[in-house]
Amino acid sequence: MARVTAGVATSHVPAIGAAIDRGRTREQYWAPVFAGYEWSKAWIADHTPDVVLLVYNDHASAFSLQMIPTFAIGCAESYPIADEGLGPRPVPVVEGHGGLACHLAEQLILDEFDMTVVNEMSVDHGLTVPLSLLFGQPERWPVRVVPLAVNVVQYPPPTGNRCYALGEAIRRAVASYPEDLDVQVWGTGGMSHQLQGMRAGLINAPFDNAFLEKMTAEPEALRQIPHIEYLREAGSEGIELVMWLVMRGALGAHPKELHRVYHVPASNTAVGHLVLEAGWPT
């Protein structure tokens, strides 16, 4: 049977991807960011899953305003890299796991999560930067990926509570897939940042650090954070943090924190990163 073994949370700042692609990771500005991921790269080399269910948001790449799905799951066999305006990132095509993805879509909808099924889409930095951070620059990604895109562009995103409950449903659905698969769930985006208006550049380290702590210590409190609090405390784009709660929900009770990173800044953003080992079934 398939099972959720671990979770990864990480920011997905596009400038991080650009720094990797342009060989700038050892520069003074970037070195501290990448130093935080060295442990994780070694860890995942020893714990490479078969599949990563990667929770991210599209940034006006695959989804324009024409259609705005709240939760979309990719059921394709592969996903091309989006051209976000400067040509696609020079990274491998992302290979999907159509079988697991279709099973998840079906089970989640029957479990009353009304997923949008996507059979064709490109993936942008929201999905590829986390892969680069954990796997570096391989010829081919060492995992298959099930993309789960969450709308956090047009207000309102789904609530943190709903995201957490979706994660719980994902854990159940993975467990009923007959193939023997090691599945990790990654939650991406955040931490505090605001890219617009006079308040651009907002960073709230106390809020971010409390969030990192509560991912294991007090997840029930994170479920209850209302949107207005994310907007006020973590900035208009910091509301992406609801996506971390999908990952957290999928890890069961009392996951173990293996690694934690917090660094300011990467471009406009606070970088947060966690590696969690899955806890007990719930």
Binding site: A15, A60, R232
Partner: protein, 129 residues
Amino acid sequence: MSQAPDLDDIPGTTVFTAERSRLGYHLNQFCMSLMKPENRTRFTADERAYLDEWPMTEAQKQAVLRRDYNAAIAEGGNIYFLAKIFLADGSSFQEAASSMTGMSQEEYAAMMLAGGRSPEGLRSIREGR
């Protein structure tokens, strides 16, 4: 449907609601079109002519022509869509963000290196915190 008043209570912040999305639909879809190289070429060759192909308001077109991103957001623009314009210009997210704050790019970059903008006093207009 009325908008929750709290969303207008955050200093220097415009929340991209469904209503704003409706207002800015064509502005944002114009931005989206710049993801195609051939459209970027046409836009760069004659910005006004390219904009005139879109059912946008004059205020939206002027905001684009002036690269006034605060004005573009006031007219329904969303930053992830507007990014297509500044990426086509060869500009970065940090340059665009600094342009919205009234700071020079150097001042803005220095603020970020020093830990970013504190939320202190910028959480709520009504409550002054």
